[in-house]
Assembly symmetry: none
Homo-oligomer: 396 residues x 2
């Protein structure tokens, strides 16, 4: 049976200034795929709706976020490799520097990954019988999980999302579970501050990593796996924790690729090689590239254009000759001029198993004339099932 | 934050005979906006569904008529300036001439606005303890409201919608409320006929305005306001009562513009100036122009073409240089060849905050190739929120 690669280029779409990064980039390989395949425009969540990365990826992979979105915390926790259990409440976490009750640096002086990992050992492992699992990922980032009976994700962030006063965790509903969870988070935060402030690794740091800020609480719940729903044995090739987390949440395997960093220096050739190699063992590869989104958020037109050009040169030729059906799109637009996600569609190429159109370039203007027309995130998995000849007939 | 003008050209779309009025009209300004902006086709309610003006405007402004449509009566009543209360039952009303039990003129001899307003004072103010509010608008038209406990909108029209026998008001369900309301309407109709027949203003009229015909009963209910739902401080610039009524229903302010008559002689420049001036105080302007729809209903190709040309010359340049994002479309097609609403899409231009396409003209054929593709009425408010950078991200 035919296999598939879904390549999601994060934040791909843009607005013309007067060209978009895709229009400005030299990308002969992507343009060749557009010419030899079929193109269109994709609204990942709904027309003109501004997608988050988490909801968009769920939808692209066939999971309606209205039903399956569990909050960002569990996806990040899964992404850093924590094995979650039904009922766990998880948060995004990050080390920050605090002085008195004021956050003075939300990244704890841009702490390095190795030092952050060392500091994790001082963080309390339980509060009042509730188990606490904390794991760092890259630099100041990490995830934190509460495990125990009677917990709720209806609690506020302690991360103030800006410099200034540290937030207290509040219950967001009247349940005893929310009150208990907020209380545990507040006590945990105090214990962690005490322990981290005394840590020898923090002694010489002008901005010590002496507090853990939490946000994005979510309740983990098992769901029907990608394999159960679509029949694919799937693997994820991604640098960023969130994308690995989404894949884990759906029961996909996650490939470990040396050099896949989730930033602009990621080793795209290594990722493409890993994706193609994975086709020996798997029949669906979800490959994610983050750099375009980060450049969009930074307002960095040249950086976004360069990331597209690197991808075109270092990854696309390998993927194109893999023999698998290849679907290339984005999870949302991150226009350089807006430095934020937007509700503008993203272009999509389908190469293999589909008709052809007469579009010759892969960009926002050309693909708007593509043969697929305007499709939605929820159409992507049916599309992939159809072109890989795996779709079940509806009726007889 | 960016502001928006939504210009609805009523009944804009048409069928080719062999050109459509939009294709035949000289409209350099609209064509320039099509060229510099992005275009598409809009199905206001759903593909191939024939919209009413009321349901279509609700949907374009983000209110699903399946949920929020309250019948035409309350919208007309709000449009003529009656302040409705929860539970009020409202009707469209018009003066007619009756002889015996036969309607001889449904417009009471095309009665003028001033005489109609004078006659209103003879109309009963209550029947059986139910308060009656009657207000005239233009010529024979007006609205009537019943206010009191235990009323229902499940009652038939008394307007026979043709010459001939006057209708009796029947309950349309078995409820005591419907029976009571029908009874009150029938008694009101008799009292009003008596009083109007004796009115001195009617003595010399060959077709006296001696009866009030009612239709479109609806029950008024408060709904979440446009401001609550979308965050815009919005104002309506419209001549027609229905459009002002829809705006009032959603909690928008309604601008009073001298010369905005809602017919083909309306002062379009005054309306455009008012719309642009309103941007000082408001961040969303809903502007409505009626003339194209009326010409469509009359089968008047030249009149529809001329209205488009007047709009292009007298209003579009002002709106285009206002600095606000500009969305121009129709609420439905009213093809001249059909003299009625139809389910054909209407073209749409989005100017500002969006991508561009290579469409160069604003008409039904050109915009079908536009970069927006085929969108729906329910997409319009998400579109406007997106281009004005007000959309909330779904997920993180």
């Amino acid at each position: 049976m035919k296999k598939a690669i879904l390549l999601v280029i994060d934040g791909l779409g843009d607005l013309p200034t007067p060209k978009t990064p895709l229009q400005a980039a030299k990308k002969p390989n992507l343009d060749r795929l557009a010419k030899e395949g079929i193109t269109g425009m994709l609204a990942p969540v709904g027309r003109f709706i501004v997608p988050g990365s988490d909801t968009s990826h769920l939808q692209l992979l066939g999971y309606d976020p209205e039903i399956y979105y569990c909050g960002r915390g569990p996806l990040e926790a899964l992404g850093v490799g924590i094995k979650l259990q039904e009922g766990d409440v998880a948060f995004r976490a990050n080390f920050a520097a605090i002085q008195g009750d004021k956050i003075t640096d939300r990244r704890a002086g841009r702490i390095d990954t190795a030092t952050a990992a060392k500091l994790a050992k001082y963080v309390p492992k339980q509060v009042d019988g509730v188990q606490i699992i904390f794991k760092t990922s890259v630099e100041h980032r990490g995830a934190l999980v509460l495990r125990g009976p009677g917990l709720s994700c209806c609690v506020s962030d302690t991360d103030p999302h800006a410099l200034g006063e540290m937030g207290e965790c509040h219950p967001l509903d009247d349940s005893p579970e929310a009150r208990k969870t907020a209380d545990i988070i507040n006590r945990f935060t105090t214990f962690a501050m005490d322990a981290l402030s005394k840590a020898p690794e923090n002694k010489k740091r002008p901005k010590p990593a002496n507090v853990i800020l939490l946000r994005g609480a979510g309740h983990y719940k098992k769901l029907p796996s990608f394999h159960e729903r679509f029949g694919f044995n799937a693997v994820c090739v991604a640098g960023g924790a969130l994308y690995r987390g989404v894949a884990s949440y759906l029961g996909m395997d996650v490939a470990m690729v040396l050099g896949a960093t989730g930033d602009k220096n990621t080793d795209l050739a290594a990722k493409a090689k890993a994706a193609v190699k994975a086709l020996g063992q798997y029949d669906f590869v979800f490959m994610h590239v983050k750099g375009c989104d980060s450049a969009g958020h930074d307002g960095d037109f040249a950086g976004k254009k360069k990331m597209i050009e690197r991808l075109d040169k270092e990854a696309i030729p390998l993927l194109a000759k893999s023999g698998a059906c290849l679907v290339i799109t984005g999870d949302h637009s991150t226009p350089v001029s807006l430095k934020a996600h937007s509700g503008h569609e993203v272009p999509i190429i389908v190469y293999g198993g589909e008709r052809k159109d007469d579009v010759k370039k892969f960009d926002e203007l050309s693909c708007a004339k593509g043969g697929l027309g305007h499709i939605r995130g929820k159409d992507v998995m049916p599309l992939i099932l159809n072109i890989t000849e795996r779709a079940e007939k509806y009726g007889t």
